[in-house]
Symmetry: C2
Subunit: 159 residues, 2 copies
């Protein structure tokens, strides 16, 4: 079990592309139905490139418990196709160096095309960090930008 | 991924004890909240003796998709304590030979003490099998006897 502390931002510029550490990784992910209560844990099924993962996240926005396990890609495919609430969320994730930290920039596709978000994982909730000039509003505390909520959105919440 | 075909019965006698293949294994298990819809997959967290498991089961009674993964016992303990809907379901499972098949007899404890059930896994839904004289009513199609439902019961449904 890990506790994940992340801050999330909308991306407003393209400057991150020059600082990319590697080409983007294609992610496809979905969520098992959980009734939608804000306190309900989230179960995420993810294909990251050719690798499958199953992740259970406790409630919370800035800080939350996380349990993640590798699973066969075929299992992830089957769960995305038959058990997860459609649609499958698709994005390309690029790791970007900034101010001594690694940021992850997510360019969404499919029903969320046009949305670009960045997140940085911190060791503590009050850890100082350098804010890149290619990010705009912080959305850490905005539940609409949780991926489990985005996956159910009919249109980009920023559009 | 496996497809599980199981038939379930209430146990009315003690004859199974003489045919036990091994001492009973203590199981402690709980379920992540899923909103309770009959079509929602179930996520089960289980401690079987010292071993942890995470299992996702698709909808269905007699036959259902099942994905099961070993996880660290400490993770299972943490999820049972903090993420699963209380109470934790406790039972002792004994493997029993009968008519060339292996049955599993579950003696429930805790809030379900007094309930004893048996199930047999079949290769197909219409596979013939010998019905032991220590089982009573079949409850395969009775959703009240699904473990995910039993775990939320306040009193034994047979009492």
């Amino acid at each position: 079990m890990a506790t994940e502390i992340e801050r999330k931002f909308l991306v407003t510029g393209e400057g991150w592309r020059a600082a990319a550490l590697a080409p983007g990784l294609r992610l496809r992910q979905g969520y098992l139905p959980n009734g939608g209560a804000p306190t309900a844990p989230v179960v995420r099924v993810r294909l990251a490139g050719e690798d499958g993962f199953l992740t259970i996240k406790g409630p919370g926005l800035l800080s939350r418990a996380e349990f993640e396990y590798p699973i066969p890609a075929a299992d992830a495919e089957a769960m995305l196709a038959t058990l997860c609430t459609p649609p499958v969320l698709e994005k390309s994730r690029t790791r970007v160096a900034h101010g001594g930290l690694v940021w992850e920039v997510d360019v969404f596709a499919g029903h969320l095309a046009g949305l670009v978000m960045a997140e940085v994982e911190l060791a503590s909730a009050d850890q100082p960090f350098a804010r890149p000039d290619w990010v705009g509003a912080e959305v850490t505390d905005d539940a609409r930008y949780q991926n489990a909520v985005l996956s159910r959105a009919l249109a980009p919440p920023h559009g």
